[in-house]
């Protein structure tokens, strides 16, 4: 993974008092934001998310970056009505786990929370918490 972007110190990072940028994670959000999302894949075709040195499914250590598919399907979802303080002004909102084939991502669905359904097709993007302004994975219905 390239360190070029993080050297600029202009994107990402957390203001939650926990030490700023998270290499790997913020690199991935940068990439999703630029429309170049990826995930890590091991030789046994298990997907995972960075930073990883070991496949969480089989222990393989040679992980390669592969493009994140443009869309995935909602595997399960809920409407969060009692949020953490970081999402106080966002609630109610739909949180979903989205299946992108060999990898899954968790995020907030940019849709009427009541309208989200299992099997719905969505794409991944990066948005912000309305409450904290912190970046997060958002899903846009396709």
């Amino acid at each position: 993974m390239s360190g070029d972007e993080r050297d600029q110190g202009t994107t990402g990072g957390s203001d939650r008092g926990r030490g700023g940028r998270n290499d790997g994670f913020d690199d991935l959000l940068d990439a999703i934001e630029a429309g170049e999302g990826y995930y890590l894949r091991c030789p046994n075709d298990h997907g995972s998310l960075p930073p990883r040195r070991v496949c969480p499914h089989c222990g393989a250590r040679d992980l390669d970056e592969h493009p994140l598919p443009e869309s995935g399907t909602v595997a399960t979802h809920t409407v969060v009505r009692v949020p953490t303080p970081q999402f106080a002004d966002d609630a109610p909102y739909a949180t979903a786990v989205v299946d992108f084939g060999t990898v899954r991502l968790t995020g907030v669905v940019d849709a009427d929370p009541e309208a989200v359904e299992t099997g719905m097709t969505v794409g991944a993007t990066v948005g912000e918490s309305r409450t904290s302004g912190e970046r997060l994975v958002r899903f846009v219905p396709r």
Partner: protein, 388 residues
């Protein structure tokens, strides 16, 4: 190998005590356990203490020595953290130490102060048991995580919010005579279904409360119990622990708990029993769906069959396998780091006939305690048996 006996137990009342410190909560439970056992604090060779979020709730780390001091114990003292399974893993370490003969007398317990953080603060505190980067920053909360599991369960196996409401109704009813329980009030299925939603399909009555409380137990070797003339009829005969990927999104299934299944398999083999031998169980019902997932992973029900167990009456106090006679986390309350030991103490009392619900477990010889952390990325199972 020594047999591990439960010589005494202690519990605070579980509830809303925002001004009480963790050290005072544990002192009450620890002293009660020592007194019930008839063991002097000077006899204790190690304290195993479970706590999840002392740093967040009261800016306190390094709680092992603090808690030993609070009960007059001067011995090595270690804090164990595995989210909501913190004192379950503490029990496991205590049991292993006594078994190997490294110690004859140990104190195990846990405490959690939570209500001083408020609902939003406690929700945030609990969330650190999940993956911060990929789950919590993405808006997940713990009720939301279990809601994701409940939705997946309904879609894979069927079942409904009404089935879950029966779990809550059962556990509230079980807690009625329990003087340690946070809630001692009956609820109806209709009330549960009409309650505000927390994270669909889970509502207020599907969720355990935010609770302050502490628990403790004195574990001794059978030799020591005999030498000291202790009344300790219940033994821990099996221990098991399982693990899984931390984040829900990395699991193969959302509606199964392999960490619980692995812990159970190990504990059953250790005790030389099977799920069919269990007479009574205390399982980790932080949310109603969690009890369903637990009774399936423990081997009491096939996948997809556990959802109807409470509705059919099979896990009520009149059923064949009463589950959570103490009221469970749902009604007894869930002071996170205290829960695993509280389950063991409750179960020992049920088996020895000293629990207010013991008449609903009369003749029970084998009990099982199941404690889970996070979305069951950690799980412990302990088998307790009447041996004397």
């Amino acid at each position: 190998m020594s047999e591990v006996r439960i010589a005494g137990g202690g519990l605070t009342r579980f509830g809303r005590f925002p001004d009480r410190t963790g050290r005072d909560l544990f002192a009450e439970a620890g002293l009660a356990a020592l007194d019930e056992a008839g063991v002097d604090p000077g006899e204790i060779e190690h304290l195993y203490f479970g706590n999840f979020m002392g740093e967040l709730a009261e800016h306190q780390g390094h709680m092992g020595p603090q808690m030993a001091e609070a009960v007059g114990v001067r011995a090595p003292a270690t804090r164990y953290e595995s989210a909501c399974a913190s004192s379950g893993v503490a029990v496991r370490e205590a049991v292993r130490t006594v078994r190997t003969g490294e110690a004859d007398v140990v104190l195990v317990g846990g405490a959690e102060r939570m209500t001083n953080m408020g609902t939003a603060g406690a929700t945030e505190g609990l969330s650190i048991a999940a993956d911060d980067l990929y789950e919590i920053r993405a808006g997940m909360t713990f009720p939301a995580a279990y809601a994701l599991m409940a939705r997946a369960y309904f879609e894979e196996f069927g079942g409904s919010a009404e089935d879950l409401a029966h779990v809550a109704v059962k556990n509230h009813e079980h807690a009625l005579p329990n003087e340690h329980a946070q809630f001692r009030s009956s609820i109806t299925v209709e009330e549960a279904l009409d309650a505000p939603r927390i994270a669909d399909p889970l509502g207020l009555y599907d969720s355990c409360p935010i609770t302050d409380g502490a628990s403790a137990a004195v574990l001794v070797s059978d030799d020591y119990a005999e030498r000291a003339g202790l009344d300790a009829p219940v033994a821990v005969t099996g221990t098991g622990q399982g693990g899984d990927n931390l984040a829900l999104q990395d699991r193969e299934y959302f509606a199964r708990s392999p960490a619980t299944a692995d812990a159970a398999e190990e504990a059953y083999a250790d005790a030389g029993i099977g799920p069919g031998d269990v007479d009574v169980a205390e399982v980790h019902d932080c949310f109603t769906i969690a009890e369903v997932l637990a009774i399936e992973a423990l081997g009491f029900y096939d996948p997809g069959e556990g959802i109807g167990a409470a509705r059919r009456g099979e896990t009520t106090r009149h059923g064949d396998l009463p589950v959570n006679l103490s009221g469970g986390l749902k009604a007894k309350g869930h002071p996170v780091g205290a829960t695993g030991v509280a389950q063991v103490v409750s179960l020992a009392r049920l088996l020895s006939g000293t629990h207010p619900r013991a008449s609903d477990a009369s003749g029970a010889r084998v009990g099982l305690a199941h404690n889970a952390g996070g979305t069951v990325a950690s799980a412990t199972v302990h088998v307790l048996e009447v041996v004397a």
